[in-house]
């Protein structure tokens, strides 16, 4: 298979992220059937290139042919999609952490259209080969870093791809797992020689084993060739040196061999002491009985894989996490989270350089100087010194988020040392940074340690960095295996390198620890297998077009995720039930118990008789009498009364004389709707008075009426608010809750990266969207049942009309509300933005424009328009019609038809906005 068509042909490809240039006019042929390595530090464009080749990213400029076709064509991407497997960067980035190992594999199998039996056989074989078989039911989130990567690999291999793309698969994985990982890949390639593999890595030593290399820097290809060719060309002993020599001159100008002066032990108490530190999260022990002592001025290294407890230990030392058991001391004092004085003597650089990206370099430095209360002159002095020493002067006004990784790392360190701490705790400060920047960074550390006598506690997974530490501790699965000087560790094991020594210690430990990692003695599948193993199978036509199975795979996935988050589930149900009670009881349109007072300036029996009309009414509650107009005004102002009746002096006298005296009623007009209602009550009481008076004079008052007005209150003869609000409230709840849950669900996939599975598998937009929507429609319908039962039995609003019509309406409505969530999340990038947008865009129309109090038909202008294009309006209408009006199914059809339209429309819009590729 040696000389054949290149697997990928890159011609003049350029890629930008906003203003940052990631790939600069790259032209490259990647040979097929080989193990090809992309070499270079983070941020040089490796991931971008891999994303483009896999089809996960959208091609911006240039030509790209993969597997013999143009990647700019959707049709070609769709047809080759199933032949490519892509494992994105980051430990378990494309795995679903709530799902078990088996469920994850099953999900990927379904996406590629494997039958049940096929999936079963392949999962069994792959997991046996990788040692995951014993952990089939363990959630992916609880696997160690190495196991996550193996699972990721299994997921990629489940559909038997022709091209396997791995983006930094071993970063952050312990050396034993790394070695096993590469052995696994080698085994697979032996069996399927036709498979091409493209891998990116920042570990130069790994690249030695690859067939063909592409060295990259700053969006350019430096050189290509076999490892031997690269070394010969640059006349270097190893690839790391070769790589540095390939770099442009100006970058390597001040790169000199790092010399570390020997550590002189200082007397006095150790700076950091850990005694039997233990930390548990639930039933999971993250750190188990860790003890060590670090001397003042020492560089102490913490070596181990991601997730082995390094970060947790550091957090306990800084007081961020309370310890479950054991003790920690800094400067001889027990760690106390409330001790601000100690914190001033410690600098901390957390994983991933948690800087404020939206602040500039200068602002970041200033902020920290201020928070540590350096004086103005000291601040200027420190910042000047640090900027000079760390080479930040060209970046002072740049935003931290726009800095190259190496610069961000330096800024992080500058920020951590601005207050001249005596202890510096650094959590993986060098991951992802290129070798030169790492060397420079270490130069700074050495200076701090040896010159300023700062105690440095650093965690890393680079072996060559570990060698530079005065002492290191090897950590695995929450335990410290051993700690000593690196050289001693190597000698004690009689190993050739620290890496081998570490592997040897790991193997010792795994013997005792209850995590049997792998048994690679079992051979992986053989190609002759015909029962559904990794055989070269013709790619099915069924992978193209719409697949119900893939859709259901997403539904199943989402269902499991929701069920495994009981808090969310409980809120979804309880929340709407509680709100139903609060709102349905709370909103009352019956205006009663109005406070009123009388300003009776007449004080005659006639005036008192007039007032008695109000006193007897159930609408009014009388307050202490008023004595002056000033008081009247004041008490209206202070909301002490909402109605004041003012009877003028001489009322009785004028009345007797037939001089038509005039009475004033003052109504608090702030709330206009209420004021209108009160006005009606007041007029009513007045008329009643007149009728009384007429009757007492022997006149038949009713005779004075020309007509007899008969008002019939239909549908709600008792005129109770609950009959109207009861059926309307579920409309609000069935919109807001499903919409926001749905929106968060999709934006969460975007944020944690599992959306990549949608990009690189044959899943189409509708399968993804509707598949994810179905479980939430289910939740919505369950909510509908609960709410309906509550309305009928608790609020005692009988369902007089068609239950079928109401249920069907609810179904359409929930489809619409979840689809609205889909639409919002297809536009927004982060979860915060999705919540913000869903709340801002959906609460107002549902509360104000859908007719819960004010019917949409009586609204004006844009409010009227929004109300008429908002599904809640129609569902409220339908719900009232079904409950209170008691309409039959046929009478509800109009609302049903309108409701049925919303869902599909929203989904179509969402599908239009949702991108099938990353930018």
């Amino acid at each position: 298979m040696a000389e054949q068509h290149p697997i990928a042909r890159v011609q003049g490809v350029t890629h930008n992220y906003k203003k940052t240039l990631a790939l600069d006019n790259i032209t490259l042929d990647i040979p097929a059937g080989l193990m090809v390595g992309l070499l270079g530090p983070d941020g040089v464009g490796k991931s971008t290139l891999l994303g483009l080749i896999s089809g996960a990213r959208k091609l911006q400029q240039g030509n790209l042919e993969v597997l013999g076709g143009d990647m700019a064509l959707t049709n070609h991407r769709n047809s080759i999609g199933p032949r490519i497997a892509y494992m994105p960067q980051g430990l378990g980035k494309n795995l679903y952490s709530e799902l078990s190992v088996k469920e994850n594999l099953d999900f990927f199998g379904k996406l590629f259209g494997l039958s049940h039996t096929e999936r079963k056989t392949r999962i069994a074989r792959l997991t046996q080969a990788t040692g995951l078989y014993t952990f089939l039911s363990r959630p992916a989130g609880k696997l160690s870093g190495g196991m996550k990567q193996k699972l990721g690999l299994c997921c990629s291999l489940i559909h038997d791809p022709d091209l396997l793309i791995l983006d930094e698969p071993t970063t952050g994985v312990d050396p034993l797992s790394r070695r096993q990982f590469w052995e696994l890949i080698a085994t697979i390639r032996n069996e399927r020689t036709s498979m091409s593999v493209i891998v990116s890595t920042a570990y130069m030593d790994e690249a030695e084993g690859f067939d063909w290399l592409v060295a990259m820097d700053d969006g350019h290809v430096l050189d290509t060739g076999t490892p031997q060719e690269l070394k010969t060309r640059t006349d270097s002993e190893n690839l790391e040196a070769a790589f540095i020599r390939l770099l442009p001159k100006e970058k390597t100008a001040n790169n000199s061999e790092l010399i570390i002066p020997p550590y002189e032990k200082t007397e006095g108490a150790p700076a950091i002491i850990a005694k039997g530190l233990t930390r548990r999260f639930g039933d999971f022990t993250a750190v188990n009985d860790v003890s060590f002592e670090i001397q003042a001025g020492e560089i102490f290294g913490f070596l181990g894989s991601n997730g082995c407890g390094k970060t947790t230990t550091m957090k306990m030392l800084t007081g961020l996490l309370p310890v479950s058991e054991g003790e920690a001391f800094l400067f001889g004092k027990p760690v106390d989270a409330s001790d601000l004085e100690t914190r001033k003597r410690v600098g901390f650089m957390s994983q991933g350089f948690s800087l404020y990206g939206e602040l500039t370099v200068k602002q970041n430095l200033m902020l920290h100087a201020r928070l540590f209360h350096l004086t103005a002159s000291k601040t200027t002095e420190r910042i000047e010194a640090l900027v000079k020493r760390f080479g930040l002067h060209n970046y002072m006004e740049s935003h931290a988020s726009s800095l190259p990784l190496g610069m961000r790392q330096r800024l992080s360190l500058a920020v951590a040392v601005i207050h001249e701490p005596e202890i510096l705790i650094l959590d993986e400060p060098t991951s992802g940074v290129d070798p030169i920047a790492r060397d420079e960074f270490w130069g700074l550390l050495v200076e701090l340690s040896r010159r300023d006598k700062v105690t440095i506690f650093i965690s890393t997974h680079f072996m060559n960095e570990a060698l530079r530490c005065d002492r290191i501790s090897l950590m695995h699965a929450g335990k410290v295996l051993i700690y000593d000087e690196p050289q001693h560790l190597v000698e004690a094991k009689g190993a050739a390198s620290l890496e081998e020594a570490f592997i040897s210690y790991l193997e010792d430990a795994i013997g005792e620890v209850d995590t049997p990692e792998i048994q690679l003695d079992k051979p992986l599948v053989t190609e002759t297998d015909s029962s559904g193993g990794l055989k070269d199978k013709t790619k099915d036509v069924k992978l193209r077009g719409f697949s119900l199975n893939r859709l259901l795979a997403y539904s199943y996935l989402e269902t499991i995720q929701v069920i495994r988050d009981p808090v969310r589930l409980a809120f979804a149900f309880l929340g709407s039930a509680i709100l139903l009670i609060v709102i349905a009881y709370g909103i009352s349109l019956d205006v009663e118990d109005l406070t009123f007072a009388v300003l009776d300036m007449d004080q005659t029996p006639q005036s008192r008789q007039y007032v008695s009309n109000f006193q007897g009414s159930r609408y009014f509650i009388e307050q202490a009498e008023l004595h002056s107009t000033d008081e009247l005004e004041r008490r209206l102002k202070s909301n002490n009364i909402t109605l004041a009746i003012e009877i003028p002096p001489g009322f009785g006298r004028d009345l007797k004389k037939g001089q038509t005296p005039s009475i004033s009623a003052w109504i608090d007009g702030a709330n206009t709707t209420r004021a209108s209602t009160i006005e009606g009550y007041v007029m009513g009481a007045h008329v009643q008075y007149l009728t009384h008076m007429a009757t007492s004079l022997g006149i038949d008052a009713s005779a004075t009426y020309k007509v007899n007005l008969v008002s019939r209150y239909r549908y709600n003869p008792s005129f109770e608010t609950i009959n109207s609000i009861g059926p309307k409230t579920p409309a609000m709840l069935l919109l807001l809750f499903p919409a926001i849950l749905m929106a968060v669900s999709i934006s969460r996939e975007k944020e944690i990266g599992t959306i990549t599975n949608f990009y690189v598998t044959p899943t189409n937009r509708l399968e993804f969207l509707i598949g994810k929507q179905i479980p939430y429609i289910g939740i919505g319908m369950a909510n509908f049942v609960i709410l309906t039962l509550m309305v009928v039995f608790l609020l005692q609003v009988p369902l007089k009309g068609s239950l079928l019509g109401l249920s069907l309406g609810a179904f359409f409505y929930v489809c619409a509300s979840t689809a609205f969530g889909l639409l919002v999340s297809s536009i927004t990038k982060s979860q915060v933005a999705a919540i913000f947008a869903t709340a801002v865009l959906s609460v107002m129309p549902s509360v104000q424009f859908s007719g819960i109090i004010q019917p949409t038909s009586t609204l004006e202008g844009a409010g009227h328009f929004i109300g008429s294009v908002w599904p809640a309006t129609y569902y409220m209408h339908l719900s009232v019609a079904a409950f209170t009006k008691g309409l039959s199914f046929t009478d509800l059809t109009q609302d049903l038809v309108v409701l049925a339209i919303f869902g599909p429309c929203f989904v179509i819009f969402a599908a239009m906005f949702l991108k099938k590729q990353e930018a």
């Binding site: 909301n639 109504i667 709600n716 947008a837 104000q848």
Partner: protein
């Protein structure tokens, strides 16, 4: 002193963070301009453009004059329908009101036989039903009187009643709508903004970075409160003066300074609730659900939608715990009634008290909530 300096500088960072997120800024601007305007102008009058039909079985001059007396803005042009159509039309919600004028109506009126005139009302819209009914009654009575007396003069009654509305003499519904809308926006946006600011720092890990510095949870929390509160306060002020006062022409009777000070206090309380939710929620999904559970009652039961005294007695004590209720009472008093501090201090006290409770509760849970994360 150092504490306040820290709070100040941390807050400036918050301001920069929010203002650099153009999407969020856009939503805030929209909420305080377009959204407030829409809500205020949507409801002009409780009975507005109400659909009405007349079953005219009389076909007389009087029945026509009744039909002509019903016109916008209260009612739409009445439609003439037949008696057989009434049930269906009302079921289908084509009309909110149907007036049935019986045969020989005019003749009977003339002969003082007190004919009956039936008004069918769709009572599922409670407020509109009762108000509309009284409008129709008075319109019909007026037309009939006019017809009988051949003049506008009403029958002379022994006593006349003059009803006056204090604080909003013309009963312009937009005034109340505008203030109500503005208050709802404040509640919602402040809580989301502050809560999300805390959760975002937790997600990005920067909160740990802060907690290892010589800063207390009090300083971190308070800096978020003031910074996010300030953003909303500025948005509120601009919206109040430009959208509400200038564009919508709503007069502010009371002291602007008092209104701003009270709003500031309320913003502290709303932001404290945001911090509280951000502290107890572990994921964004949980925060979103909690948010809905909190803001919906705060908005619906504040007294803006239905007056507190009309709410059932079981609910009324509960609303006492809603800061929005006190703030609504405060804002109405200042804006419409021109109340001064001597009148509104109890509300301000209640808002402050509730805010402090939420703030202290968040502080108590702060470190614990960081520690339970993994």
């Amino acid at each position: 002193m150092k504490t306040w300096i820290n709070i100040f500088w941390l807050g400036t960072k918050e301001l920069r963070t929010v203002l650099s997120d153009l999407f969020v800024v856009g939503l805030i601007v929209y909420s305080f301009s377009v959204d407030v305007f829409l809500q205020a102008t949507a409801i002009s009058e409780s009975v507005n453009n109400a659909s009405i039909a007349i079953v005219d079985e009389d076909h007389s001059a009087l029945s026509r004059s009744i039909a002509n007396a019903l016109y916008p803005p209260y009612f739409k042009e009445p439609e003439l329908i037949s008696a057989a159509e009434v049930d269906d039309a009302m079921d289908q919600d084509r009309f909110m009101f149907v007036i049935t004028i019986p045969p020989k109506f005019e003749q009977d009126v003339r002969q003082s036989r007190q004919p009956s005139l039936q008004i069918d009302i769709d009572a599922t819209a409670v407020t509109q039903a009762s108000l509309g009914n009284s409008y129709i009654q008075s319109i019909v009575n007026k037309e009939v009187n006019h017809f009988v007396n051949r003049s506008d003069a009403t029958a002379s009654y022994p006593v006349t009643l003059v009803v006056r509305r204090a604080f909003n003499p013309n009963g312009t519904g937009m005034w109340f709508g505008a203030i109500n809308a503005l208050l709802n926006q404040i509640t919602m946006l402040t809580i989301i903004l502050t809560g999300a600011a805390l959760l975002r720092e937790r997600e990005h890990g920067t909160i740990e970075h802060l907690l290892v510095m010589p800063l207390t949870s009090f300083q971190i929390a308070l800096s978020k409160v003031w910074a996010n509160g300030l953003i909303i306060l500025v948005a509120f002020s601009i919206s109040m003066w430009f959208v509400v006062e200038s564009l919508l022409d709503v007069p502010i009777t009371g002291s602007r300074l008092l209104l701003l000070s009270g709003t500031t206090i309320y913003l502290f309380t709303a932001a404290a609730i945001g911090i509280f939710l951000g502290t107890i929620a572990r994921t964004m999904a949980q925060f979103a659900l909690l948010l809905m559970m909190v803001i919906i009652p705060m908005m619906l039961l504040s007294g803006g939608l239905t007056p507190i005294e009309s709410q059932p007695e079981i609910i009324q004590p509960v609303t006492w715990f809603l800061p929005s209720r006190h703030y609504m009472a405060f804002a109405q008093a200042v804006v419409f009634r021109g109340a001064d501090i001597s009148i509104v201090w109890p509300q301000l006290l209640a808002i402050t008290g509730l805010g402090s409770v939420f703030f202290i509760a968040s502080l108590a849970l702060f470190r614990k909530s960081i520690a339970t994360e993994k």
